[in-house]
């Protein structure tokens, strides 16, 4: 814009004409900028399931990658309230959120689930409650999920025994942190994933052998890609770009930052599970 105005100020002739041209240039530049911003589609990301907090890197890497496919950007959120407040009243967006969170807000926001993340080809995961001592009756629980999400899981997982175990929750950044908190004495129990426990078997077999699985939850879908119904058709190019990430080495690397290795479309049984979760 500076360049345009610079040329206009050097325009020979009438001062009034220069003024008019200058105004036109400013209006044009502002309009172009406004349209460019308005046309940008944002992927809003919040996961109640894992405390992914590498937001700066995540935004940078995803924005760089998505720009290749269109005017797209990622906007991560660290808390549920801000995330939900931000999408309210908007039409043109894509969401990345946990299946549990989707089931809580899909009706109010008229959302459609398009894809589910995969890990080792599986789109479902299981939450487990582990401890070093299988006779443990309570104590601090380490979890990488939000407190609301953790409580919801524990209630489902433990049913009548929930009150017995319902003790303080220590939110840690990652599932592997939750496991190590139990292993190294910072918590008595950990709510984590079966996948994280399998990883522990490879990286620290001695610690793995000390872990006892006390309870296992129902299988739930991994991260969900959802869109508002009104944007379902227009959002397809972006959904396709997300879906194809796994077939591109750079895209796979970005997916790794979400703890995923691919995306799969949902079949009717997935949708039913998701909506009755």
């Amino acid at each position: 814009m500076q360049r345009i105005t610079h040329h206009i100020t050097r325009f020979p002739g009438d001062k009034r004409l220069r003024g008019i041209l200058g105004c036109c240039a400013v209006v044009l530049a502002v309009t172009i900028t406004a349209f460019a911003a308005a046309d940008k589609t944002t992927i809003y990301f919040y996961s109640s399931e894992t405390s992914i907090n590498n937001f700066k890197s995540l935004k940078m890497e995803f924005d760089r990658y998505l720009t290749k496919f269109g005017p797209y950007e990622l906007q991560p959120f660290s808390d549920r309230e801000s995330f939900e407040a931000h999408i309210k009243g908007k039409d043109q967006y894509v969401l990345l959120l946990s299946s549990w969170h989707y089931s809580k807000i899909y009706k109010d926001n008229a959302l459609i689930a398009e894809l589910a993340g995969t890990r080792k080809g599986e789109k479902y995961q299981r939450r487990i409650l582990v401890a070093k001592d299988d006779a443990v009756k309570g104590g601090r629980i380490a979890s990488a999920s939000s407190i609301q999400h953790t409580n919801s899981y524990l209630k489902k997982m433990l049913r009548s025994n929930y009150e017995l175990v319902a003790t303080p929750i220590l939110t840690v950044p990652k599932d592997i942190d939750a496991l190590m908190s139990v292993g190294f004495g910072m918590a008595r129990l950990a709510l984590t994933t079966k996948n994280a426990l399998d990883e522990l078997q490879t990286i620290n077999p001695t610690l793995y052998q000390k872990m006892k699985v006390l309870a296992e939850g129902e299988a739930s879908l991994l991260l969900i890609v959802a869109v508002p119904e009104r944007f379902s058709k227009d959002g397809q190019p972006l959904i396709a770009a997300i879906k194809n990430m796994a077939s591109d080495p750079e895209g796979r690397e970005k997916l790794g930052m979400l703890g995923l290795d691919g995306w799969q479309a949902l079949d009717p049984s997935d949708t039913l599970k998701l909506e009755t979760q």
């Binding site: 590498n54 004495g185 522990l200 610690l207 796979r252």
Partner: protein
């Protein structure tokens, strides 16, 4: 008329009295922050107050209005049931004036050098070495031999314990002890051919000479030897992987300890290791060195340098 007024007065007092009794029973919690201008200290305080869900009074020692005498007056006037001290300055003040009270600390380097009582609790500043090694393995599953330079004066016990733990994980720690900082380059040269990475630990002898530290990083760089370290600042020096403590988790952990103390619960460990990790990975260097890494572990990395 007089009798009527008196009845109202009594009724009013009866209404207020149980409330004031309840207010007296609410334990007083004070946070003393050594310097709230330091991001990690600020975050720990925010998470502590947010997690504890009780009224908390907080003071920042970096604020010029808080002279020692004023803090002393505050401590005796308030006489809190529990104090959360962030940083060593805060801890020393609380311990000096009200050591008879429950004190929870965090963000203190080498806390063992400070006086403690039976009512001292805390979260140490360094991750358990087993956690660090597990995370090294998580990102780089093929790493088998890790070199460590350490001084016998400060870290012989640490080295002994870590070596034992590493064997259980299938990692071999190749250690070289040094008596002075200058020996580190020679020690590195001796251990270099045998190791997959160098683990730079917070050994005071290694850290005392900045120039020597720079030489150490350069020597590793020239041989494409990855350096794993414990502090974010080493990324700028050329560290490939930094596994450090997650500051928000420290605040939440301290709040958990405080809540357990205030509810007369049992505390398993009075001074605990931090439960949360913060990982920085220099992916540019990983590719430059031609190293294989676990792509699935990238979700655990907080910051990627490219």
């Amino acid at each position: 008329m007089k009798l009527h007024r008196f009845t109202w007065l009594i009724a009013g007092l009866l209404l207020i009295y149980p409330g004031s009794l309840a207010a007296d029973k609410e334990p007083k919690v004070l946070v003393i922050n050594s310097d709230a201008g330091i991001e990690k200290y600020k975050v720990a305080q925010e998470e502590f107050t947010g997690t504890l869900s009780r009224p908390v009074r907080a003071i920042n020692l970096d604020d010029p209005k808080w002279k020692i005498a004023d803090v002393e007056n505050l401590l005796y006037d308030e006489y809190p049931d529990l104090v959360y001290c962030i940083g060593s300055k805060a801890y020393l003040i609380a311990h000096r004036f009200i050591s008879e009270k429950d004190i929870v600390f965090s963000s203190i380097v080498n806390w063992q050098r400070f006086p403690v009582t039976g009512k001292t609790y805390g979260v140490s500043v360094e991750l358990h070495s087993g956690i660090q090694m597990t995370l090294f393995r998580y990102i780089f599953p093929k790493v088998k031999k890790i070199g460590v330079l350490y001084s016998t004066k400060y870290n012989s016990e640490w080295f002994k314990n870590t070596s034992t733990e590493s064997k259980e994980m299938g990692i071999e720690i190749v250690g070289k002890s040094i008596a002075e900082s200058k020996q580190s380059i020679d020690a590195l040269r001796e251990s270099l051919p045998a190791v997959d990475a160098l683990w730079l630990i917070p050994d005071p002898l290694l850290m005392e000479d900045k120039d020597n530290l720079m030489k150490l990083f350069k020597a590793c760089e020239s041989r494409k030897l990855p350096v794993f370290s414990y502090h974010d600042s080493f990324i700028d020096y050329g560290a490939l992987l930094v596994v450090s403590v997650d500051a928000p988790t420290i605040g939440r952990q301290a709040a958990g300890i405080a809540a357990e103390i205030l509810s007369d619960g049992t505390i398993d460990e009075k001074v605990q290791y931090p439960a949360g990790s913060h990982i920085i990975l220099n992916l540019k260097k990983v590719k430059e060195y031609g190293l294989q890494y676990n792509e699935a572990a990238l979700s655990a990395v907080n910051q990627i340098v490219e």
